[in-house]
Symmetry: C2
Subunit: 216 residues, 2 copies
DNA sequence: GCGGAACGGAATGTTTTGTTCCGCTACCTA
DNA sequence: TAGGTAGCGGAACAAAACATTCCGTTCCGC
């Protein structure tokens, strides 16, 4: 029997491989967040492994992207769940938005969409994520902390905007995104409505769903 | 002597070529706005001409991009100039922002940056554009219509965010961008400051300038 | 001590794309 | 009216990028 003793943790082919599992996924995350069309070789290099180590784990680039997206959806759900548990609705909303933006979940999900065929698990998580975001927003609105005329389909458009900020290193990017998230949040408060109502109409769920249909 | 009579306007190789000049530049604008990395062939197809018609006018893709960017900078300057002439500072500011966003000037300039070596004319126009934007913003701030703590280097970050909205056809994109521009603008008004000051620091001009250094 | 898991990296085949080239059309000028 | 040629369409070409495969090597695990 394979007894996982101390050695398994310290060294050994098996343990090294397990560590590579994490290294590769972490590298894929940072690489594809920075550049959604990065070549596979970049991920391997960032992980400090050869290409074959990557292809041993994922049969194709598509599979890697699918896994990464799953990872992103799980992060979304976790962040939204945590925000639901914050007692103050406004604070919960802010924590939610900041969490999504800080973790760059949008780049891990929507920016990878259309590059792999979604599994039922993807769909299920996406539905759950949408429902949770709905709840966080509506709770904040009903408490009077967020202006009306805003739907939950407006939120992805805000992530999308903030995810587009890519200036400088990771630290500066995060700082800038928080800065402009503050502007968005100020514009979403009820007092902002006195400057005029929101014009136009929010995207429909179908509009948003269309981004998941395979492109190539 | 070549007398440009009526025929020149209606037909003739010369006139057709002149019309192609415009068609190609217009096609390049729409194509590269939609997809900054589009291949040259796409531009020719959108213009309804062959590839050679394009290469007769521009010696390389790089030259085409450089010309397009020049075009974008001129549009920026024109929009800013017009905004300066609006008497009400806030209205001028709004008109300026809406003009930049509607014309997608950001996609015509920053999104093409780093793909060609800028000429002195590029630099000159960029300086002029920056100065004009400065003026529009400061005028609005000094009239008390825009909150403090905001610098003119914040503005490109806002264009960048709005330019990232790409959902549906041209019409819907414009509608959505206006919708979220409203949110930004509400967040920039003095009343929004009561929800807290802007955190972090705006980018430096050097940060912004770095985007113009050749990449490939 | 040996079988094979794990791996690094070169090699491969394909796709994409910028640019050139060739033959053709039809305007312009003499 | 006839040759010269500007302008053009699109095939052809070469180079680059990239996903994926393959092979030789190492060294863990039994």
């Amino acid at each position: 029997m394979t007894d996982p003793g101390e050695r398994t943790v310290l060294d050994g082919r098996r343990a090294q491989a397990a560590r590579n599992d994490d290294a590769i996924l972490a590298a894929a995350r940072t690489v594809f967040i920075a550049e959604p069309h990065a070549p596979v070789g970049d991920v391997a290099r960032a992980a400090g492994v050869g290409i074959s180590a990557l292809y041993r784990r994922y049969p194709s680039k598509e599979a890697l992207l699918a896994t990464l997206c799953l990872d992103g959806l799980r992060r979304f759900v976790a962040i939204a769940r945590r925000a639901c548990e914050v007692t103050d609705p406004w604070e919960g909303f802010v924590e939610f938005m900041r969490g999504i933006v800080d973790a760059d979940v949008h780049s891990l999900t929507v920016h990878l969409a259309g590059r792999f065929t979604p599994t039922p698990e993807h769909r299920g998580l996406a539905v759950e994520a949408g429902a949770l975001a709905d709840r966080v927003l509506h709770r904040a609105q009903q408490s009077g902390a967020v202006r009306g005329g805003l739907g939950s389909t407006d939120l992805p458009m805000i992530y999308e905007q903030l995810a587009a900020i890519r200036l400088g290193d990771t630290g500066q990017i995060r700082e800038l995104r928080r800065r402009y998230l503050d502007v968005h949040l100020a514009g979403l408060r009820p007092g902002a409505a006195s400057y005029g109502p929101l014009t136009g109409t929010a995207p429909t769920p179908a509009d948003l769903g269309a981004r998941w249909t395979r492109t190539a």
